[in-house]
Symmetry: C2
Subunit: 111 residues, 2 copies
DNA sequence: CAGGATCCGTCCCGATACTG
DNA sequence: CAGTATCGGGACGGATCCTG
């Protein structure tokens, strides 16, 4: 709780504070639901995933998955068949993040 | 981890899932820093708070404080003097939320 | 001292259409 | 099957100025 120094602008912390960095990983509409679904099924194909997430568009799903992959939360497995097959699974980090966020769930239920 | 039902659109969960609700409380640029600062000092005047948060504008600080108050995370104490004096403190919920988010800090440090 | 009002740029997100 | 390309609206955040 000692992240803020009066002489440093906030943007510095947004790029360095671990808590804010962790929050940024899931601060987009579909990211957490995507992580939940993958965690729930261990491994999912792109279209399987899309069917679970009612209302999501290809644009958002593909973009979110790319970012989650880049952030090391999900693992993309591509099989070079025709038609192509891709599956997504959680990394250990992704699993750890979901576990950590369970703490928030209890809070939300109280409030 | 069983929040998502294939037959229900996501917006429903955004308004009902405790985890997403808890996340929404702090999913704005200055909210968490504001909570940290108040928690750090127990109680702060508006301008004291503003001086700690380098770069924040009156618009954002006042708006964030109003919302945090409305969400039950901070407590606004107004003294009808001239000039007016207002102090902000954390509610028990606000304190609890900060404690919970400490879990995220550990995660961010690993990643 | 503690804000409110207004304007404005940016980025998130959705809709639609197309592809190796 | 698993995406990409493009367009557009709306919310979020910042800048500036004003006030009881």
């Amino acid at each position: 709780m000692d992240y803020l120094n009066p002489n440093v602008p906030l943007d510095y912390y947004h790029d360095n504070c671990p808590t804010l960095m962790a929050l940024k990983l899931v601060n987009q509409k579909w990211k957490l639901p995507i992580l939940w679904q993958i965690g729930l099924h261990q491994e999912l194909h792109y279209n399987q995933l899309k069917r679970q997430l009612i209302g999501i568009t290809n644009t958002m799903l593909a973009k979110s998955l790319r970012e989650l992959d880049g952030d090391g939360l999900v693992l993309r497995h591509q099989f070079d068949t025709t038609p192509p097959t891709v599956t997504y699974a959680l990394t250990d980090q992704g699993k750890q993040l979901l576990i950590t966020l369970e703490g928030l769930r209890e809070f939300g239920e109280i409030g």
